[in-house]
Amino acid sequence: MSDSVRDERYPSWDDVYRDNVERIYRVLFARVGNRPDAEDLTGEVFVAALPRLRTTASVREVRAYLLAVARTVLAEHWRRTLGRQLTAIDPDTLAEALTVADDAADAARVTAVQQILDELPERYGTILRLRFLQAATVKEAAKQMGVTVANAKVLQYRALRHAARLLEVEAR
């Protein structure tokens, strides 16, 4: 803790909340992909952190602490819903979330996803674009692609598996 924000402090709990609620929500939303869970988990983080935070802590310490709580809350969420940790908040993210502007992070995510979709075999890319970018139902996607609904579901599953492999390679 030897950097310049060391002495910066939040004047009150309300300031802690206002400065961090969006930050924490975004980190969690990016890892659960849906609003209701992201909202619940964000609530959990702040409710858990509330009794523990001292106003004497520096801004940096508070942010790091909230992210550490978010990390635990997310891990617990996966443990109780799917029995395995689907996504995580890793220490690198911790550093990144403290510095990178939100818009830049959003833009980077969109670009990364476009790249993944472009790399997929054509039909896989098509179904995922229809479903994930154009919000088509399976039925609508099936119709557009000229396949049965059952085929569209299988196609979607295989496309996601393929995308998962690409994401893994990318993460290495």
């Binding site: 309300d14 209701p36 550490a68 809350v73 617990e76 919000a135």
Partner: protein, 234 residues
């Protein structure tokens, strides 16, 4: 096919921004779901919290701070999991009384579970007429360790948490299948059900999750770990 249906339902709910339902995915499904989350989360319009949510949570926190609401008051109950277990998600009172040391322990890699805090725990299996039987040397069970034992009449797991030894039945409360240790949980191979080390159900594919695993009487004596087992029935 029902497997595919569960997977598709999860993706469907994700796309409609509804809360997805718990299930136990295979490795491949888990990877595919992580990809789906990544794709879904890239749509910037949902990436920021709504003003309503930010305001509502602020109100809720104010009520928690004034003691008008406890941390366990939940907007949306979830099916069969013990939502509030664990230190950081404990009740406000528990959270306030638990020290920061424990918090740090849990935050930074502490794997120990506080056994015995689950709201819905199994009872203790206590034979009316039993004998103490050695299952292993006390030195063989390190802090945080879990080990299977089988006396012929009783099969289970012994574990050491915060220095104390406890034991759980190793037989699924659903249809009696033998459980396996998987990292820090107990898995039933028959119907994809997972128990926490304190006996509570983590997830289950069953529509009604089975009851928690009962505890087994256990003690440390003369450098050995002993469990109380009933006399073998002839």
């Amino acid at each position: 096919m029902s497997r595919m249906r569960r997977f598709n339902r999860y993706v469907d709910r994700l796309l409609r921004q509804r809360r997805p339902r718990p299930f136990v995915p295979t490795d491949e499904e888990a990877g595919a779901l992580a990809a789906a989350i990544r794709l879904r989360a890239a749509r910037p319009e949902d990436a920021a919290p709504s003003a309503e949510f930010v305001a509502a949570l602020q109100d809720r926190l104010a009520r928690v701070e004034r003691g008008e609401e406890t941390a366990t008051d939940e907007p949306a109950p979830r099916p069969f999991h013990h939502r509030r277990r664990g230190l950081l998600v404990g009740t406000a009172a528990a959270a306030a009384s638990a020290g920061l040391t424990a918090a740090a322990d849990r935050l930074f890699g502490g794997r120990g579970r506080s056994a015995g805090t689950g709201a819905r725990r199994g009872g203790t299996l206590e034979p009316n007429d039993g004998t103490w039987q050695t299952v292993m040397a006390a030195g063989d069970l390190a802090e945080g360790g879990v080990a299977a034992f089988d006396t012929g009449t009783v099969a289970g797991f012994v574990m050491r948490t915060a220095g104390r030894v406890s034991a759980r039945s190793g037989v699924c409360t659903h249809q009696g299948c033998r459980l396996n240790i998987q990292r820090v949980r107990l898995a039933c191979p028959c119907h994809r059900t997972f128990f926490d080390l304190d006996g509570t159900v983590i997830t289950s594919q069953l529509p009604t999750p089975p009851p928690p695993l009962p505890a087994i009487e256990v003690r440390e004596r003369g450098g050995s770990i002993e469990v109380r087992v009933p006399h073998a029935t002839p």
